[in-house]
């Protein structure tokens, strides 16, 4: 244990290896003027060999620190957001979690009409898909414009995961378009996410 710690402990700027032999992973970066991989975080270095069928046979070197900086939404990541405002052509939501980690400070995202679902995208009614206060799971499409990230719920497992009915109770999902209030029995329209049964 001791040798592992001392030898493999790196701080930013430490040389991890040559670019010919290694690929930079998380916590490492490639410097083009001398073709070397340097560390960018403080922590322990670990080397993972490349998968056998990939064309680039270089191993990946990573630096695992004790604290990763707060998560930032990136394209392709599933985020959890709370809907704040629903308008005719789009809904805005505050991103609360990126993947499994919660953020330190919220980011703003918008779900446009054409990104709510995969079929019949021009016939989407925003008010029948989301209401303010709903918790949704969405995919980050892109960094969007200056104001907000672009989010999409156009998959089966994306959409509303938790919502409160008009009466104030947490609703139970019935289908991918409806949820029911347990107190009053009334159904409300939402774009519901299909969560795998535990």
């Amino acid at each position: 244990m001791k040798e592992r710690e001392e030898e493999n402990f790196v701080t930013p700027g430490d040389i991890l290896g040559k670019a010919l032999e290694l690929k930079p992973g998380y916590g490492a970066y490639f410097s083009s003027h001398d073709k070397t991989i340097y560390a960018s975080l403080t922590g322990f270095r670990s080397i993972t060999p490349a998968p056998i069928d990939s064309e680039d046979q270089r191993a990946t070197v990573e630096v695992k620190g004790h604290k990763a900086h707060g998560p930032v939404p990136e394209p392709g990541v599933v985020v959890t957001a709370r809907v704040t405002n629903v308008m005719a052509k789009m809904a805005s939501a505050d991103i609360v979690c990126v993947g499994p980690k919660s953020v330190k400070e919220k980011f703003t995202g918008i779900i446009r009409q054409q990104d709510v679902r995969a079929t019949e995208i021009d016939k989407v009614e925003m008010h029948s898909s989301f209401r303010p206060g709903d918790i949704v799971k969405a995919l980050v499409l892109s960094l969007g414009d200056a104001r907000a990230y672009y989010l999409s719920t156009a998959k089966n497992e994306l959409g509303v995961v938790s919502a409160k009915s008009a009466a104030g109770a947490t609703m139970v999902p019935l289908s991918w378009t409806e949820m029911q209030c347990p107190l009053t029995g009334q159904t409300e329209q939402r774009k519901v996410a299909k969560i795998d049964a535990v």
Binding site: V96, S102, V103, K104, E105, K106
Partner: protein, 288 residues
Amino acid sequence: MVGLSLGEQTFIKGGIDQDLRTDGRKRLTYRPIFVETGIIPQASGSARVKLGATDVIASVKAELGKPNPSYPDKGKVSIYVDCSPTAEPSFEGRGGEELSTELSSALERCLLGGKSGAGAGIDLSSLCIVRGKVCWDLYIDGLVVSSDGNVLDALGAAIKAALSDTAIPKVQVSANAPSDEQPEVDVSDEEFLQFDTSGVPVIVTLTKVGGHYIVDATTEEESQMSSAVSVSINRLGRICGLTKRGGAGLHPTVILDMISAAKHVSEQLMNKLDSEIAAAEACDEMES
């Protein structure tokens, strides 16, 4: 801050109702207090107090000055609090000014008494050197380094500790100076007088959340409060100052109840603080 979800808010309120707060404390228990004195060598006295994650530093500087003409036999004390942006990003630039002014005036009210200096926790007449001509000006500076709720109590404790650590140099006044000119004073480098802090009060803030009040609230708990009452009480159990914050109205009996709870808590706090200060000073002497 992302903001507390409904579930988290209910959890905090429910915990307080059942006398079991989120960090396991009872309603009237303080977080562990950590006191360090003499941390600023160039000040006359200084202290650092950590109350959980709340971290404040207080320093006392004594300088020679002229007394206020209306009160010729009293010294002057001024309190100034600065909120460092290290505690909250929103404090950068002038963002922390509002909170700084609020804390400074609350502390002045609790420690300095009325305009004439009557009833002050600090005995101003002990700061007078030559009546009407020369007196000590005490500048008390507070700095909030890290804030996790209950900053006022921490500052009160830090000021009390800094004052206990304060050593005012002995002054020799030249006897043969003409009476209408500024007398010459010789400030001694060797001999010091320890400041008398037996009359300095501590501040206890009671925060009302839901139907109960708690002592030493964290930032999360403070976000749920409806109102707060800060009472400054001295060793004799006398109230030296009172501030109520928050918009919600309180029934007068509730306020009286809160004051008596504050008195009860203040005894324990005062004893704990005195023992911590004594330990810190002993530590200080061992090192120097």
